[in-house]
């Protein structure tokens, strides 16, 4: 964290202090929480690191789109005859909207959760590392509320990151490929408007798929005072789980890995929608959020804050 950031942090907390003093009698004012949330949001999204992450995410659909355009320039189909590559890639040339699905399918396994892991891991450990955590705790918001605000900020980043990928993919898809009615993976046709609605739903489901990693990252972030260590641990855990998810001998454990049902978002493109995997995915994410969220709370509200 930069010096300027630290000073802005101190400024924010002194401002918070002032406003808190003014409202001493109304300690639980919800607006104050919103104020804290807004200040957190601004701090997070103004960071160069966050912007760079979002930039990388926005670049992925551009790369995929350009690659498909070049590969299919001679009339061949993308993904080869066997239909390899990320999901939906063979459809992109016929309908740019499919680039949204392909880009999400390509970024969900690694890029998106990595970005979320960086932001979540940094949330508390980064503050502790820069010595700004104590300033935040001087304000009478309490640790629980600070933790909740931090989690809300990370969730906002999940949504923002997913939307950045989706919007960038839609823009690239519209520029490079035709748009129009699309064929669902069940073979039925839906209009472009409904396709857009489904794309939005898919983006929301993808964002929700990241809530488990976000909670895990936040918990790791409460364990250490080093932001780098927390980020590395979160991303390391993510990679480990993804590898374990590929080992067939561990299939009994697979349903409990947070990443196991991630690609179920594609079930929204079936007609009728197949809800089984989707509900399992969302249930699992809620479980991870509950377990690691409460673990983070248990840790954060009882630990000694020395930095």
């Amino acid at each position: 964290m930069s010096r300027a950031e630290a000073s802005s942090r101190a400024e924010a907390s002194s401002r918070a202090q002032a406003s808190a003093r003014a409202e001493e009698t109304r300690r639980a004012n919800p607006l104050w929480t919103l104020g804290l949330f807004r200040s957190e949001l601004l701090t997070t999204f103004r960071r160069w690191r966050t912007l760079a992450l979002l930039g990388v995410l926005a670049a992925v659909p551009v790369l995929v789109g350009v690659a498909v355009k070049i590969e299919t320039g001679d009339g061949s189909t993308a993904g080869g005859p066997g239909g390899g590559g990320p999901a939906f890639i063979s459809q992109i040339t016929n309908n740019g909207l499919f680039l949204v699905f392909t880009a999400l399918a390509a970024t969900l396994p690694f890029f998106l959760p990595m970005a979320v892991g960086v932001v979540a891991g940094d949330a508390l450990a980064g503050e502790a590392n820069a010595g700004t955590l104590r300033y935040l705790l001087v304000a009478p918001a309490g640790r629980s509320r600070l933790l909740l605000t931090k989690y809300a900020t990370v969730l906002a980043f999940c949504l923002a990151a997913t939307l950045v990928v989706a919007v960038s993919a839609l823009a690239v898809g519209a520029l490079l490929f035709p748009l129009g009615d699309l064929t669902t993976i069940s073979g039925t046709r839906i209009g472009f408007g409904e396709g857009l609605v489904r794309a939005l739903l898919i983006a929301l489901v993808v964002a929700a798929s990241l809530t488990g990693v976000a909670a895990l990252g936040l918990f790791v972030s409460t364990l250490t005072n080093s932001g780098i260590a927390a980020m590395a641990t979160t991303v390391g855990l993510l990679t480990t789980v993804q590898i374990l998810d590929q080992i067939p001998q561990l299939s009994a454990l697979h349903p409990y890995f947070f990443s196991h049902y991630w690609l179920s978002f594609a079930d929204l493109m079936r007609e009728p929608v197949h809800w089984e995997g989707l509900t399992r995915n969302l249930g699992l994410q809620a479980l991870y959020a509950a377990v690691f969220g409460s673990a983070a709370w248990a840790r954060f509200t009882t630990k000694d804050i020395t930095a």
Binding site: P81, L182, I185, G187, R189, D304
Partner: protein, 404 residues
């Protein structure tokens, strides 16, 4: 206590060390409790959902079989889970190695060709979606990760659509019944019909209580071979009490263990599916393969590469084939006329790989190699005869001795 106090600042001031420790333990109990509750829910919900076997009026086995035969469900939609565990490693297309009459898959074919796709059902667990509206409109979809293979029959057209590769297969049919007969069985009904064909005096058929399948009350029909040589332990068919449609089919081997074939609806509705379900127009840019092109590619052996699911199919599909024995103990004999182990030659590398699975046996017929699965055993003799049947290895050798 921390210099910068936590939430409950008022208590923190006077709290001593042991008290803080207790409070910490109490807080850590929250995530542990959440995890425990979740684990208990995951464990208990299926048990609670299993609300016991429904009460249905008594019915005899003969009446139940009659009920299945009279079942005229024309409209339905649902989800079918199919699990096959033959005890083989998951190698798609393995059946082709066993049946030398079947065409090679892959080259020149389309990934949307039904005969190359539905054979995938022969191993592993798959989820299918089925919908039907009368004899002219049916749809079967094989759900894959982020992709789907759909086979749509609407009037004269049969479409196969592979969304992963965006390839389309198209055929036209004059007689819808004939085409359907060529498809491998996919729904519990198909399997049940195959099983009930085999019902004769070598079979015991009983009604074994009731069950609930896909939220519907059903009778459980149990079909058991009387002959001891069969590798089939029992076949259990859950029959919907109202429509008479088989909802679940389970084949357990005589050797015990998990079911070899387990096909059942996880969700079923007897309402008319939306008409748009059966509409299909090839998406822009999709590669469309017409049925005739495939036949030309295949040359002479234009027979679809279905796995032989019953003795009848096998007898129809392959020339030079005789059946020894009767009922559940029947053994199909195929004289390849070639040298020994034709399956190994035909399958190339796969065949050589298979050879390492086989056991050498000797008997009155000479020597041969036995390939065992949990259900079907095959004996390939050195003089090029293949004995296949759902019978034990000894019965196979005996049949070979007799057939000599």
């Amino acid at each position: 206590m921390a210099p910068y106090a936590s939430d409950d600042m008022t208590t923190a001031g006077e709290a001593g060390e042991p008290r803080a420790g207790r409070r910490r333990a109490a807080r850590y109990a929250v995530p542990v409790t959440v995890m425990g509750v979740a684990a208990a829910t995951i464990g208990l919900v299926p048990a609670l959902a299993d609300s016991g076997d429904p009460d249905l009026p008594e019915i005899t086995a003969a009446q139940l079989i009659e009920k299945i035969a009279q079942s005229d469900v024309e409209r339905l939609s649902g989800t079918v889970k199919i699990t096959t565990d033959l005890g083989l490693p998951d190698l798609g297309g393995l059946q082709d190695g066993f049946a030398p009459g079947a065409p090679e898959r892959g080259e020149g074919g389309s990934s949307a060709d039904p005969s190359t796709r539905l054979t995938e059902l022969a191993s592993g667990t798959h989820t299918l979606r089925v919908a039907a509206d009368g004899p002219d409109r049916q749809k079967v979809s094989l759900l894959e990760d982020a992709a789907e293979y759909s086979l749509i029959h609407n009037g004269k057209d049969v479409w196969g659509y592979d969304s992963r590769s965006n390839e389309v297969y198209h055929a036209t049919v004059d007689d819808s019944g004939e085409d359907r007969g060529q498809q491998p069985p996919a729904t519990p009904k198909d399997f049940a019909e195959e099983a009930l064909k085999a019902v004769d005096d070598t079979t015991s058929v009983t009604v074994d209580g009731t069950a609930q399948v896909a939220g519907r009350d059903a009778y459980r029909l149990v079909v058991k071979p009387r002959q001891s040589d069969s590798t089939v332990g029992a076949i259990s068919i859950a029959v919907d009490h109202r429509t008479g449609m088989p909802l679940k089919f389970t084949l357990t081997p005589a050797s015990g263990g998990a079911a070899v074939v387990d096909v059942g609806f996880t969700r079923v509705s007897f309402d008319r599916p939306a008409a748009s379900t059966f509409d299909f127009t090839p998406p822009k840019g999709a590669k469309v393969t017409e049925d005739g092109e495939l036949d030309r590619d295949r040359g002479h052996s234009g027979k679809p590469g279905n796995p032989p699911k019953s003795e009848e199919d096998l007898a129809k599909g392959l020339d030079g084939l005789t059946v020894l024995g009767e009922g559940w103990n029947s053994v199909a004999v195929l004289d390849t006329g070639g040298p020994g182990l034709p399956a190994a030659d035909a399958g190339g590398d796969l065949g050589g790989f298979l050879g390492s699975f086989g056991d050498r046996v000797e008997g009155g017929f000479g020597t041969g190699t036995v390939f065992s699965t949990r259900l079907v055993n095959a004996l390939v003799t050195e003089d090029g005869k293949v004995y296949v049947g759902a019978v034990t290895e000894e019965a196979l050798v005996k049949a070979a001795d007799r057939g000599k």
